[in-house]
């Protein structure tokens, strides 16, 4: 068979987040997964969409519609179906391999910060809610004895605080069949950041268009 079929189905599953090096030429293949007959997929995959002109540390948004336009230009007969995301977020990074985590001593520093903060926060909380007074009353309600410092109640309480945190963060069960609330939050947070990027980019594009529509404005003033 010579060349791709004149009319072919093309399915594009647009990726949500990719990384690219500065100056890299982004092709369709990098922005989306392609499902089509082999030859068509090969040609479409090589279609250039945009050159990364931004520097390291910046982010750009490529609307999936740009892919459709570029493909239609080269293969007008292609029947393109978009799936997945409506935009791809490209993070510009110096090296794709250079996105590991921060060093361990940084993490130890954060851990110390958090534990000292938690240490003081719980003390402040207990004073704030007048917990000693409540414990004294509760101890009397339960045992009928009066105690100024009912440690029998208070030490298990302190252990319970740790236990509650462990339960909340799924630290007790070894088999994590469901994601912990932290993992859910992490995912939601990443998603919100992506959505925000896309919204900001759309706003910026809109503003630019408006400026282009009225190029002489301001020169007369």
């Amino acid at each position: 068979m010579a060349g791709p079929q004149p009319y072919s189905d093309v399915f594009l599953r647009v990726r949500q987040r990719i990384t690219a090096a500065p100056g890299e030429l982004l092709q369709v293949r990098k922005l989306a997964e392609i499902a089509a007959d082999q030859e068509t997929a090969h040609i479409i995959g090589a279609i250039p969409i945009r050159q990364v002109r931004q520097g390291v540390g910046t982010t750009l948004v490529i609307p999936a519609f740009d892919l459709v336009k570029a493909i239609k230009q080269q293969m007008p007969a292609a029947d393109i179906r978009l799936m997945g995301e409506t935009d791809t977020i490209v993070s510009v990074q110096a090296e794709e391999t250079n996105q590991g985590d921060a060093p361990w001593w940084g993490a130890v520093g954060v851990a110390i910060l958090l534990s000292i903060g938690a240490f003081l926060a719980i003390m402040n909380f207990q004073t704030d809610v007048a917990m000693p007074e409540v414990h004294r009353t509760l101890f009397y309600m339960l045992t009928g004895a009066r105690s100024d410092q009912p440690l029998v109640l208070q030490i298990p309480y302190a252990i319970g605080v740790g236990l509650g945190i462990a339960i909340f963060f799924n630290r007790l069960s070894r088999h994590h069949s469901e994601p912990s609330p932290l993992e859910v939050e992490m995912h939601l947070y990443d998603k919100s950041v992506s959505e925000c990027f896309i919204a900001m980019e759309e706003q910026r594009a809109k503003d630019e268009e408006r400026r282009k529509d009225r190029p002489t404005r301001g020169q007369h003033q």
Partner: protein, 141 residues
């Protein structure tokens, strides 16, 4: 005299209703009950948990009256302490997570793989902080 009693009762009831709804709203927004139901795999018992909250809060509200006592063994106090502490541990973790402390920290500092360490840091810090608060004179007195 009668009028004074009735108006006092109305004021008390109104105050209690507002405080009660606020407490339930607080516990609800923190997703404590769904979290526990998920952890123990007992989703169908949500109704029971609801009533537990209602009864617990109502009984707790009578603590200032402090006229009655169970005359139970001291071990009972230890058990109640452990359970109460667990509840506060859940609350404090949930408050921190509503504010997205750990996800933002992990992302900003590129330390997502250390988050488990951070959970332990928070856990030990809070448990030790509470222990010191009770054991060292000057804090809890």
């Amino acid at each position: 005299m009668m009028f004074r009693w009735i108006s006092l009762a109305v004021v008390g009831l109104a105050q209690g209703a507002v405080v009660g709804t606020a407490l339930v709203a607080f516990v609800t927004i923190l997703d404590i009950v769904p979290r526990l139901a998920q952890a123990t795999n007992t989703r169908p018992l949500l109704n029971l948990y609801q009533w537990s909250l209602v009864i617990g809060a109502t009984v707790g509200a009578t603590i200032p009256l402090q006229t009655m006592t169970l005359h139970g063994p001291v071990v009972l106090a230890a058990g109640v302490g452990l359970v109460a502490g667990t509840f506060f541990g859940l609350i404090t973790s949930a408050v921190a997570e509503v504010l997205n402390v750990l996800p933002i920290l992990g992302r900003r500092l590129r330390m997502t793989s250390y988050i488990s360490l951070f959970v332990w840091a928070l856990l030990l810090g809070k448990a030790l902080g509470s222990l010191v608060y009770w054991l060292v004179p000057g804090f809890g007195r």
